[in-house]
Chain length 303, copies 3
Amino acid sequence: MRHDHLLTAKQLSRADIETVLDRAATFDDDPAAAGERHADELLALCFFEPSTRTKMSFETAAKRLGGDVVDMGSVESSSVKKGESLADTVRVVEGYADGIVLRHPKQGAAKMASEHVDVPVVNAGDGAGHHPSQTLLDLYTIREHAGLDDISIGIMGDLKYGRTVHSLAHALTNFDVHQHFVSPESLRLPRSVRYDLHEAGAQVQEHDSLDAVLPNLDVLYVTRIQRERFPDEDEYEAVAGEYSITPETLEDAKDDLAVMHPLPRVDEISAAVDETDNATYFEQAHNGVPVRMALLDLLLDDD
Amino acid sequence: MRHDHLLTAKQLSRADIETVLDRAATFDDDPAAAGERHADELLALCFFEPSTRTKMSFETAAKRLGGDVVDMGSVESSSVKKGESLADTVRVVEGYADGIVLRHPKQGAAKMASEHVDVPVVNAGDGAGHHPSQTLLDLYTIREHAGLDDISIGIMGDLKYGRTVHSLAHALTNFDVHQHFVSPESLRLPRSVRYDLHEAGAQVQEHDSLDAVLPNLDVLYVTRIQRERFPDEDEYEAVAGEYSITPETLEDAKDDLAVMHPLPRVDEISAAVDETDNATYFEQAHNGVPVRMALLDLLLDDD
Amino acid sequence: MRHDHLLTAKQLSRADIETVLDRAATFDDDPAAAGERHADELLALCFFEPSTRTKMSFETAAKRLGGDVVDMGSVESSSVKKGESLADTVRVVEGYADGIVLRHPKQGAAKMASEHVDVPVVNAGDGAGHHPSQTLLDLYTIREHAGLDDISIGIMGDLKYGRTVHSLAHALTNFDVHQHFVSPESLRLPRSVRYDLHEAGAQVQEHDSLDAVLPNLDVLYVTRIQRERFPDEDEYEAVAGEYSITPETLEDAKDDLAVMHPLPRVDEISAAVDETDNATYFEQAHNGVPVRMALLDLLLDDD
């Protein structure tokens, strides 16, 4: 992988992706091997928005590599309140650390930041923009369970606003994957994303209901349908009920269907599914560690 | 000690307690000995409620053992705000760390969490429930100053709501300790706790005033009387004044009486007492480190 | 350097300052040399007020020395909310760490804290009081760019309320430095500071405008003029405009003029200045790391 920064999954070729996933698999197989690869290296965590799993797993990844982190803390406790620009903040922070992980509410923030500093910047979410390490851990999880060639994946829920879904769908066009999008009419893929997938040569179908397509799926990727998206509470309840997964839903699925979710979930997947062999979402969250270790390993090696 | 989790002091036998205190004494005597016992181990700190000393001393303990921590951060900066269940949060977090320290406002939270994960869970306070590492550091401090056999301890202040006091009193029933409870009528031990102590064979007496019993005490454990407990401000002032400790109060005490307090204190112990040899509360707070090192050492060894 | 604590820059002799700056230069030249100088040492970070760069650079400094930190977290998540005194908090914290870095809104807080503990206390800002590590990194930056003998420095902006400026001006009296103070009438140096500098034998001149003095300066230290200081918005706008730096402003300056700023800046220095060779403020912020490493190295060695 020959990149200075990781800003979007789109910048990654199939070879890049496979380099990251292979490296992650190495760390996954033998965590101790990573031990001192990045001793004395510091990673700055600049989270301008709340996060649990992304921040904790980057911190874990840095530490599992023998390095450490320096945390900017919450925006409330930072100079940002004094009106400092993001460009200034990251230019200061690059003096403290060997790399910067940035989450920021404004789309394009990570790209802008990367133009002001000489250390690697990892985009850990820029508003409606990108969150490439999420995409990579999704791909890693899919590859572990079903491989990335000649598979069928269902992607269900809020396909309109879900940044995670758009990135994943695009990244999957690098592989031989049939993508089935399942959502209510009002939450379908935006036209721009559909066009984008088409351009990339994706094999895509859209569905109103999971029923017809479920038996063919190797992976079912569920996302949250947010109450706020619906003007009418009753409409939300109806949709949420129809697009939620229970053990009964899974009766028609392949035995080894992997059910994924970027978490946090609310009601989209019932707790009873947790006990099934299909439940893959916690493992998926855990995969954030080896995948982010691989990313940091590759980016920090690059400087 | 043969436990997977530490949820309540009640789960600990006398032998368990002595194992922890003995190990703590080893770390206390020779801090350097602990140096690399848990290198490469990560402890997740999940504090759903504010804390200074508990959180800092667990962090210190992990680091003094050669390990490190991964901090969930405050609830405001976490996925909890998005409605994630505690069970989901800890199942994600177990993928990041080798153990979890959990503080949560809901009673029973730590026990519930422990049922969902395969890494050790340490209860660092679950609302009105338990806070066993506090009890262990209290026992350690008492043992260092007076031993745990054939001693008399006074426990004073808010005995009705004080979770710390209930746990300590119960734990002391494992030893040959006379317990004297001193409180205003309205803040006496709850009936259930009194019954519990009776069942455990405790040697217990209750008093309205410290005067009569003070000269016999080896240890005086003071707790805070909270203003909020009193409907009437005047009543609070009267009680708070009567149950606060000054150097004059201590004139009738044994020279080597150890005055303890779980901290933070407000007016229960006057600053002038800090200068006396009786003041043991800061040492007690500091004992949180070796005791928590011992706990982590024993629990992390177990997995 | 023979001090137990670092409370104010005024406590430091010229020899003390040079000891710190020389040590910092060593760390700057060869960061790896610091690697394990303070392995197993823990620094407590007690920030009772928000901070980004000071806190992050102390954390970085401790970690670059091989040590680690224990963070009190924000005041909202601490026992301070329960009414604990600062004296009690630091007496507890000294049991966790080998040194304490303290920022507190009350002037005199660090000095008071230092009287209650046996570990070194570093004042990282006490309200309108002192912030000596800022002064030291300012001196380090000036020395790197212009030396500290026979130079002219302009100090511009809010000279009335700027704690940073008062400390720096006083510290510069240890060296052969001509100080030119440039500010609007309403934000001139307080009489007490002027008297203080006079007593210390400073070579001082005051100016309304930068124009006349700029061509002679080796260093220009700019500070923020805060909107809140002005009763009238128009007056603020006029002053802010006149005392802000652009590439045009610098046309009459020496080619190697170093423009400094304690940051965060808002409009005092235009972004276009960042591209000039004069811009020294980010490097100045980065110097916080080697200077704080030197400080910690000297103070932790002393115990």
